[in-house]
Symmetry: C2
Amino acid sequence: MHETYRIQPGSKLRLGDIPSNDDAGLNRDDAEKEFKQLSKRLVDLQEILYAQKKHSLLVVLQAMDTAGKDSTIRSVFSPLDQLACHALSFKAPSQEERDHDFLWRVHQRTPAKGFIHIFNRSHYEDVLVVRVKNLVPKEVWKARYDHINAFEKMLADEGTTIVKFYLHISKGYQKERLQRRLDNADKHWKFNPDDLKERAVWDDYMAAYDDVLERCSTKHAPWYVIPAEKRWFRDLLVARIMVATLESLDMKYPDPAFDPRSIVIE
Amino acid sequence: MHETYRIQPGSKLRLGDIPSNDDAGLNRDDAEKEFKQLSKRLVDLQEILYAQKKHSLLVVLQAMDTAGKDSTIRSVFSPLDQLACHALSFKAPSQEERDHDFLWRVHQRTPAKGFIHIFNRSHYEDVLVVRVKNLVPKEVWKARYDHINAFEKMLADEGTTIVKFYLHISKGYQKERLQRRLDNADKHWKFNPDDLKERAVWDDYMAAYDDVLERCSTKHAPWYVIPAEKRWFRDLLVARIMVATLESLDMKYPDPAFDPRSIVIE
């Protein structure tokens, strides 16, 4: 079922035409039960990933504000072993980072064999916010789609499995979420008036995401568009995709370098 | 003249057919005089590069043992400001480095805007020693030529000028140099018996270099084959190419962000 949400390479699509409150007709209780099982399976799979040290897994998480990037990380990834699973946030780049190419700081944070890294925002910001706000000339960001694809292909060929999630919400849903932050004193810390500036250019962001999804969903690094307004459905879908992705690696615990039967512990 | 030594993209070539003791018919004294002038010019150009902070320059240096990588760095690059010009050596990768893709450690050491980095050995070892010694499966190193080209194209598009030097010597010349190390007690520290293992597969290395030069000399990141047996000619050629490369950037000191005439220092 989750394959429905995978973007085929080169698909022409408009996010505005894709429902963001979809739940595939599932029942919430059933979904939550299944999620718990998937969550346990994910913990098991991560242990094999870490033990085998053959593959690494890079998860890219992108979304508009209030779509639930942080809460997805909490629900799906927090149960995993923090020693081998790291969530990394990419904020506005430092001066040193801006003095290098856009992939420089990202490449330093790619996962080693055995590890899972979750990118909370990523190199995609360099064709999203950077494009919408004209932070570099058009010819620079235009060249970056190919650079991103080449970079991700290199990572894949060298042993990193990549999966990318766009958490999809509507502009109306964002309004509700922002209002809730304003109405609730405990949530004021989450509200940043600057977020309204991003909201004002919502359509520009959607156009930029449309191009990302069309140009950068590849066989080796697919994008999934996750309807994210029902959080239980969002978590279920992300967990299913994570489990399916790890199972496709056909991993196993490594053979010991010794014969366990020959060992005598005195 | 130095353009003769630039490898055109896609050239079929065999290093064995290229003279390694070429001096273009130059007179040594004239060459050394010209080198001194070029060396001063290089210092001036580097200052503008650093002041303008618009471009960065990556110099890749590859060669067989005894070809003079270290001495080239000493002659050509040591006069430059050490604050903004760094020579970086790539040795056998650490376990952590091997747990990432082959470009991971290299990318971390690319130059920031305003800087010159000289790679003493480089990511090319991952299709040279790694290929000759079968350190990864063939399908892995075969994919790396494209990955290197894509990586260098990305760096170039993002503001890094790349120039790559292969210091060319013959197998006979290497024998002389190694023998000199053995015959001279002061040079014993430079002799490593393991170097003879590399020498034993000289032809495999030449075939690997032939492929590098054929596949990875691009418009944006050219390879130059430098006849390196006459050191004065080698230094002259590298200096000429460095000056020509920096001059092609059409750099200038940045305009001050203030009107110098309006400033009164009391």
